[in-house]
């Protein structure tokens, strides 16, 4: 049997409460006995039983991270795991644990209510992908400590956190302006689906308007191949853009293909820049200048807020995390 607080008390010739207090560094215990008990604990290899601890304290020291963890998500959405990583690291630093949980959009409200009521965790961070109004109601009404990753697309009392894609757009525009680029073409994603591109564009426009400049855009660039053929046509123009800004690496790759095929040099003849530092902006030739959004950092911040909310349950957080940074490379 593992050594318990009783064994320690016996060995230290004191009561279990003194041991408990000593180990929890209570100020009502003399430094001398604390020392003694700590030494003894070390010697006997005592490890407090976390189960008993959670039970007595009525909290777990655990936060839940809930998202749709369907097969393939590791590949399709590495961002998600970068966030998870940041969350875990912060929690770990503060003595908390991270429990990862798959939930599905349709069943999430019940699942989450159940998980929280059964007190498996002290709070929950959840990906906006599984959020519904119904779930929002549960979260708010039952005042469950929560934080949504991603801004909900409906008004609510929810606590959430999101990357400022607008800021990313501004940063990108300012960088390009500084570099002397004026004729900019922005390749965006699906017109309906891709809200992120739209928000980036808003940021780009905000920055460019200050200089009374405009920007050309092409939407519905949903994959590599579309970008490649679009780029082919663009290069047929008499006057080509000075720089192509892509909303993701795949599009950038498509552009690069066409630019090369045409025999043009990057960045001499035309520059190329992309949002997201992933997956190949650093491995292609030339390496691509990219606007990176630091998902790890966002996870870290999210965890920080989460713990604050666990401590102050009436706290509400609604904020943008402005973490985009430029990684300057050879393509601009």
């Amino acid at each position: 049997m593992a050594v318990t607080i009783y064994d320690l008390a016996k060995a230290a010739d004191c009561s279990i409460s003194t041991v408990s207090k000593a180990l929890n560094d209570s100020y009502t215990v003399s430094e001398a006995t604390k020392e003694k008990i700590r030494a003894l604990a070390e010697e006997l290899g005592y490890r407090p039983n976390e189960r008993a601890r959670s039970f007595a304290r009525k909290k777990n020291g655990t936060v839940l991270f809930a998202a749709d963890l369907s097969r393939g998500v590791g590949f399709e959405n590495p961002h998600l795991f970068e966030i998870v990583t940041g969350v875990e690291r912060y929690l770990d630093e503060k003595g908390y644990s991270l429990t990862l949980k798959h939930v599905e959009k349709t069943t999430a409200p019940d699942q989450i209510r159940s998980l929280m009521h059964s007190e498996q965790a002290d709070g929950i961070i959840l990906h906006a992908g599984v959020l519904t109004k119904q779930l929002a109601t549960v979260l708010v009404k039952e005042s469950l400590p929560h934080l949504i990753i991603g801004k909900p697309d409906f008004p609510s009392q929810l606590s959430w956190m999101d990357i400022s894609h607008e800021a990313a757009g501004q940063i990108a525009a300012n960088y390009l302006l500084d570099k002397g680029y004026r004729r900019i073409l922005f390749l965006m994603g699906d017109k309906q689906e891709d809200q992120i591109s739209a928000r980036r564009l808003a940021g780009l426009l905000a920055a460019l308007e200050e200089e009374e400049l405009s920007i050309e855009t092409m939407a519905d660039m949903t994959d590599y191949e579309k970008a490649r053929t679009a780029m082919e046509q663009i290069l047929e123009r008499e006057k080509i853009p000075e720089v192509i800004l892509c909303t993701n690496n795949y599009l950038a790759m498509g552009c690069m293909q066409s630019i090369r095929a045409k025999g043009l040099k990057i960045p001499k003849d035309i520059a190329l820049m992309t949002f997201d530092n992933y997956p190949f902006s650093m491995i292609v030739q030339p390496t691509l200048t990219a606007i990176e959004v630091d998902m790890y950092e966002m996870g870290w911040q999210a965890a920080r807020f989460m713990l604050q909310m666990i401590k102050k349950p009436n706290l509400q957080t609604q904020s943008f995390c402005t973490t985009p940074t430029i990684i300057e490379r050879e393509s601009t």
Copy 2:
């Protein structure tokens, strides 16, 4: 306050032990009272307190997944998270939870000993990347329920699980032979570091030897650019290979670049195939035939073994998971 087993007992006019048994579907309780209690539980919105449960049962229903979760790992190692996903899904199905934990190679032995002794989890799945002999000793000596993801590179009594890269090699070779390809060139990774390529080669050779064929290899293809330039030279030959097999998508991308630049057609003039269905084998033109290793499936299996070992602590598992499959596309 949340509704407890006492409230239920009062409502059902019976003792708490009967309630407990009813809810745990014990056969010593009549079907009638079970029904009554279940209905009442539903009605009152009773959720057993998991903390109390774990405490009383002396187990958590939690398994730990430990790996090095440094910043960037979500991007650099999506495989890892695909495994995690598979693990979580299996555990969830069996009523278990997954706790994700960052550990570092150097401190892992202490961290893990501490985690397990404090009974935060019933078992631990850990990534071979953080495994050391010292840790192996801890795991074995203290007979902690564990499973290593990846075959340890030293002999031990550890339980582990790994993808059969040899099988993947064989599968690849057989596919190519069936397709009628004979002159095969295999682009491998770093000669020292990349054990996986070596194991794939072993499988390739095994299959080819049966047909008394050989294979050409080029090692130290550590990135896109190396593959691109290597490919340029290869295409200068009088007699070029019939098919290029790459150990990862980046190399394939490099090859593709050169093949196109030379004006050759894939697969008419030269075929291309790659290990790993990621990240761009499906988005390039032509789409690439790939040997996919199903990491999700491996995670799933790993979780299955883990639960077995939790139930039978003296069980040992050392096995290869043969999950590679061919995804045939346009490039061959």
